[in-house]
Point group: C2
Chain length 195, copies 2
Amino acid sequence: MDKITQYAGHMLRYILLGFLNYRPMTGYELKTLIDHSTGHFWHAYHSQIYTTLRKLEEDGRLVSEEEEADDNKLNRRIYTITSAGQAELMQWLGEPLQEMSRVKEELLPRLFFSGLRDKAAILDELRHHRRLHQQKLVYYESIEGGELLSPQAIEANPAIAGEIPYWQMTLRFGRQYARMYLNWLDETIASVEAL
Amino acid sequence: MDKITQYAGHMLRYILLGFLNYRPMTGYELKTLIDHSTGHFWHAYHSQIYTTLRKLEEDGRLVSEEEEADDNKLNRRIYTITSAGQAELMQWLGEPLQEMSRVKEELLPRLFFSGLRDKAAILDELRHHRRLHQQKLVYYESIEGGELLSPQAIEANPAIAGEIPYWQMTLRFGRQYARMYLNWLDETIASVEAL
DNA sequence: GCAAACATGTAAGAGGTTACATGATTAC
DNA sequence: GTAATCATGTAACCTCTTACATGTTTGC
């Protein structure tokens, strides 16, 4: 079994393995699922997903692929995790993450160099981002965290039920991040107004 | 004047222009300054800084460079922002950022797929990250936000004094992010223990 | 003398972003 | 019919990360 190699991260590969470990899926389904879950803290484009699935298949046989050749013309490729893929996923989960991720927030370097700017323009920008984060918070508050897979899918694979609390913990991160950001924006808007 | 082109971001270019707008500096000084300020929310390697400075000089003459050829053998290159560079910086600051940045946090996809893991191992990892964020918070709380440039540098260029409140707002973001993260980790550790 | 900090680069490879490209199926 | 959604891919280009590479100056 080929190890996935040493380059830092390979996060997308493990996310794909993680979802395929729930059930076989197409790249499109994976994209949709990611967009509604892990994508909030690790985004991926469809162009990455399709190429990474091929890599998982070709260099390591961590997934297997089956073209749905029935009677239709829609060439859906259904990917299934292999036992090598499951072993790889478990190994990754077993090796603790040593370092914290770096924050990368475009608004902050802009604010950092804002001494030269028109205060009204800064405030407009901050208020615009306040609306964006408010929307995101409303979205996070509108979901419960367990609706990712259908009740049937969960019933069919009882192991998934044990995953739901962990999905909810990551959702709580999203909510708390949005609240912190809103809070910071409110304070920051007040600070700029007071300058 | 060449526009910096359309590719999303170019953040490092503007960060370099922003600092060079305070005073002329070498790449090494820029690296040190970034590491203690904007690097907390937009990191850059020295390999990027040196190559990006060259690009700023070569395709747009946004900075000018002068090799310190005095009597020493240390070839320090001192970069100075040009008026084209200042115009570019101001144009960037004038165009509001429309979209929010995406969160990218490695710990979260790991937690998301942690239903399969040993609870003790999850808790070890969470507690390790609690320590990391605690350290970061202590660091953020140990600085005031105004010590970035020397008092002489600030006195020599009074415009810089107006920047300090903005530096402090970004520092407050760092503190609030670290506090939010710690808080979330405490709740999450308790949740995992209770499962 | 030696270690830490100062100082600057190049190259290879991996990952991220945008654009181009195509076609099928479903719901209205 | 037609728009939205389903479905999959490639290419170009840019940024990020790691490793390699070299030499000077300062403080002890």
